[in-house]
Amino acid sequence: MADNALTDLTIAEARERLDRGEVSARELAEAHIAAIEGARALNAFVTETPERAIADAEASDARRRRGESGALEGIPLGIKDLFCTEGVMSTAASGILDGFVPTYESTVSANLFAAGAVMLGKLNLDEFAMGSSNETSHFGPVENPWRRQGDNRALVPGGSSGGSGAAVAGRLCLGATGTDTGGSIRQPAAFCGVVGAKPTYGRCSRWGIVAFASSLDQAGPMARSVRDTALMLGAMAGFDPKDSTSVDIDVPDFEATLEDGVAGLKVGIPAEYSLDETPDDIRALWDEGIAWLRDAGAEPVEVSLPHTAFALPAYHLIAPAEASSNLARYDGVRYGQRVEGEDLIDTYARTRGAGFGAEVRRRILIGTYALSAGYYDAYYLKAQKVRTLVARDFERAFESCDFLLTPTCPSDAFAIGEKSDDPIAMYLNDVLTVPASLAGLPAMSVPAGLSGGGLPLGLQIVARAFDEETMFRAARAIEKAAAFDARPEPRG
């Protein structure tokens, strides 16, 4: 079998071929290692781990011969470099963690490896997951494998899980982990034409994932089919006593109900997600999505989420406030880089000034200001109250529907450098993904069509808390109807 035929497989297809003995985990790993070497121009990986991949794959093949197969036995994955991996450098794409080699493994990556997954390497991201374009990485921007028709400029893959999106779309791994704080799985999935799912807050353990905004951060899968994300999430999720916000609730077999369809379900269409600036192609795709679901037996109902417009500013207070607190740990004492100063305080300030990039510094300052004496009530507390209102909106909407359908993003992928001068223009990328994050709800993006410029567009499904099964069923219905089979031109 030719190598590109191996890198083109979905996880489910690879699993079948492995089960039938038509391919070995080692062959799969080798095909992906070659693909990664050939696509370094994308800058999708911070650290490639080919030797680890071969060792993992050989161990997997040995387990399979002994009849011990996990749910992801022999499947080669990329791990976002926000997950701490034992013995493998983990940087959060920040200069301050350059060279940091954890002595422990994050719960989610440990779960994946326990299920038999093979690690290809650590994927690039926005620094500390703060960004929507993967341009804030200390290791440089990631290129989206897609190009706009008639325009050869390199495009952003979205962010913060930009390396994950580019690697999955570019056939450099069969699936990847991402993390989503305000859209960091769904937006890059939409920009790269792949599937990305953020589960309910508390479904996946945050232990060992470098913290950005603890009340919002959730890990989730990115892959090339809805089924693949469902089976990856099944392996990633689960109660973990090491994360106090991990929820002790059974993890259903998401794959088992995937094909149950949407007949008899009500799909809510939130009026407030129709923005003045929504381009016609995205509006048309949304209408098409509604029609697909109606054809599949679902009943569209209009719903209202009246506090939608307040979600983004609330998010951009809460997330930096939590980040400024979380990032206080980078002091040049316990791990990471240190810049010596005149005294201890000066050492802290110099270390942090040199180690953090511009966007991270900006968010630390905003967060520190919002939490400082005299401003806490006006900013942070106000934002947390607005968050309650946003969450209530969803609760009311779910009284009259089973899931929501919206566009994932207000635009398709933009060029590298195009929006980097204006923080607020960049923040607006997340306007349709942030509300579900604030409410902690499961939400995912499915590639559903191409924009006028020939770039992938995603539709977003939002479901009730801990109802990922309905989310996956609806996403599968969209996937079947859309039959999205466009792919980026290979480039080296």
């Binding site: 080699v101 500013p313 951009h316 207070l317 004492v333 100063g341 005294d343 942090r352 209102l389 969450a391």
Partner: protein, 95 residues
């Protein structure tokens, strides 16, 4: 203008973040733009609304007050920029 260069200098100090003098002005402008945008929040009526503290309200779990791990001092200092045996080493604090 809520934030001037003195305020940026002060919050940078609170955040233990070295910001070069010639960047203070630009940062004040950026922070003001972001804070102006956040004033949108004042349009939301939050009278009598409790701040959200958890996605799914649940009591914090308790566990037995017992040692669950330990003896990993070597691991803990493995990434320290400077360590002395099993201790983190920092610049002298007291003269």
């Amino acid at each position: 203008m809520a934030v001037d260069t003195d305020t940026v200098r002060r919050i940078a100090m609170l955040a233990r973040l070295n910001v070069p003098e010639d960047e203070l002005d630009g940062l004040a402008g950026e922070l003001n733009k972001i804070l102006d945008w956040m004033d949108l929040l004042n349009g939301a009526d939050t009278d009598g609304v409790a701040p959200m503290t958890a996605v799914k309200p649940m009591p914090l779990r308790q566990r037995a007050d017992a040692v669950t791990e330990g003896g990993i001092a070597e691991d803990l200092v493995a990434n320290a920029p400077e360590a002395a045996g099993a201790f983190f080493a920092v610049p002298k604090v007291i003269e």
